[in-house]
């Protein structure tokens, strides 16, 4: 398998009157073609910002982004258009990401028209193909967004994102606003499309059961930093970072016979404004010692399993 996306030491800072927000701080990862990387963490950890920075919805502060081996960190306007055709995004809120004054058909046709790749007849055929592909019934072709439920709206968002056969799609909490049964329908659609179109995904979510279902590898973020990354199975079998362990144990399970012990975290997420050096989780970490407030890097603890914790070996008896 070949590498499609590589991100090196990516940073995204936002200046605010109260100081600089370190939303994404020194993140490095690669994703192979046709695979899905899950990006998880709680609200405000920078996961959406990371997804958006990677596809150039906003400029990065520092670091490098490579797509298919080509450096796309700094691109001019023309190059950006080409990059955008290859990298797309599906937004979280299907209620606010569609134009309320456009019919579904026009909404889906728009990116095809703008690409300039199709003549009039092809344009109509291609639009119909896309609508069939994402499962929007004929009777809704000329409906407006407000006439639809969230699931169908999200299907429109998906059709737009994959219209020009991108190589890479950031799915930013695409199912968080949907009810469970609709959520499952959309997850199934995304997985089918991945197979058919050889898509590579970054799947941003706070829902760990969803991420386990859809991802090949997982990155756990906490306040702008990556705390742990490894293949999905490994993460659920052997979580090594204290935050990941607490996060996994916090999920209510439907298994009523095997109750696992819950790790209770104290306090709440602090802020990423001008953070102190070292591990940002240390304030809530049950194992924190003074050393934790020194600089810290992601280290490979087992093959393919990277953790950013000064005491990972002691905590896990490795």
């Amino acid at each position: 398998m070949s590498e499609l996306l590589r991100v090196e030491h990516l940073k995204k800072y936002f200046p605010t009157p109260r100081g600089t927000v370190h939303a994404v701080d020194d993140i490095t990862f690669t994703i192979e073609k046709g695979k899905t990387m899950g990006l998880v963490g709680e609200s405000g950890c920078g996961k959406s910002t990371l997804g958006r920075t990677v596809i150039h919805l906003q400029d990065s502060t520092d670091g490098k982004i490579f797509l298919d081996g080509k450096d796309i960190t700094k691109v001019d306007k023309n190059e950006l258009k080409a990059v955008r055709e290859k990298m797309q995004i599906i937004f979280q809120d299907p209620y606010s990401s569609l134009n309320p004054r456009m019919t579904l058909r026009d909404t889906i046709k728009e990116p095809l028209e703008l690409s300039g790749r199709f003549n009039k007849e092809q344009l109509e055929d291609e639009t119909t193909r896309l609508m069939d592909l994402v499962g929007i019934e004929k009777r809704f072709h000329y409906s407006y967004p407000h006439e639809l439920d969230g699931g169908r709206r999200q299907r429109v968002g998906i059709a737009r994102a994959i219209a020009l056969h991108p190589e890479f799609v950031v799915c930013d909490e695409p199912v968080s606003a949907l009810d469970v049964s609709i959520q499952a329908q959309i997850l199934n659609l995304l997985m089918d499309l991945q197979d058919q179109e050889q898509l590579t995904y970054i799947f941003v979510t706070h829902d760990l059961s969803v991420v386990r279902h859809i991802s090949d590898t997982i990155c756990v973020m906490y306040l702008g930093q990556m705390v742990e990354t490894c293949p999905t199975d490994e993460l659920f079998k052997n979580p090594l970072h204290p935050y990941t362990k607490a996060l996994l144990s916090a999920i209510p399970s439907v298994d009523i016979h095997n109750r696992s012990k819950r790790i209770q975290l104290k306090g709440e997420i602090t802020s990423a404004i001008d953070p102190k050096p070292g591990c940002r989780f240390a304030q809530r970490c049950p194992y924190a010692k003074e050393d934790c407030y020194r600089d810290l890097t992601l280290t490979e603890v087992r093959p393919g399993h990277f953790v950013s914790c000064a005491y990972v070996k002691e905590i896990n008896n490795l």
Binding site: S43, L187, P252
Partner: protein, 328 residues
Amino acid sequence: MTTYDESKFLSVKDLNVTYKSGEDIVYAVNGVSFDLAKGSTLGLVGETGAGKTTIAKAILRILPDHSTRSCTGSVIFKGQEISSIKNEEMQKIRGAEISMVFQDPMTALNPTMTVVDQIAEGLIIHQGMTKEQGREAAIKMLETVGISGDRADEYPHQFSGGMKQRVVIAMALACNPELLIADEPTTALDVTIQAQVLELINELKVKQNTAMILITHDLGIVAETCDNVAVVYAGEVVEMGNLEEIYDNPKHPYTHGLFGAIPDISKDVERLSPVDGLPPDPSALPKGCYFSPRCPRATEECHSRHPELIHLEGSHFVRCIEVEKEGK
């Protein structure tokens, strides 16, 4: 004090609520009945629009006046019919004996009052405390939910989402209610904060023997906090029973669909098997079984006859024609 059967601490019988929406009548709750024993927890599970919140509001008699068309049925709380008592009487029960935690802590709090005043308000009204006593008790309550007393004089906007929800819980529990109705109390929160809030609710339940109705769409939360479960679909209870009956032996095809739709954190499933389609429009409910248009097992009869809630065994009830037939 009237005596009553403790297994029928709260008894809801044939609750029906309709709303008006323009020319249409919205059938939000359709013949819901259940009993809640003292100190036990019932989970009301279902999708958006199933009528879960309306059931709670109907019990508390806080349905919106302008859009409610009718609300019938009986609600017996500690042996007393509370659906027909005077408003003033009901006000005494609400907040004191029965209280509610709303889903969205951002809108449930008054932005112009300090949190301590909001918690003390109920104590002053219901328990006749003086301002000073109310304040003291409110600070104690804040500390119970894990918020330092130093922050008592702050306003809601100074708190994070998780802390606001704890303030709402402190308000609901201040008067030691015997029944707590919690409507999606953790949906707006992150998982680690959700774990803290659930732990808090569980602790208080044990300490004060509070009965609880927990409204949620999350079957994992139900599994961790409830004794009994009622699955609500299109304003009806379609299946009801204790945890083991529902989780180990779900009977209704909709309940199966709900379980099939959740990616389970502890299992590997290649493909989810959700229910196809969407819940029905409550202003135009289908003939026969309300679930029949989406049901993989639906037969002719299901599209024409509306099934009754039938008793299976133990405390397990189900509303399904196909399950009825299996029994025969």
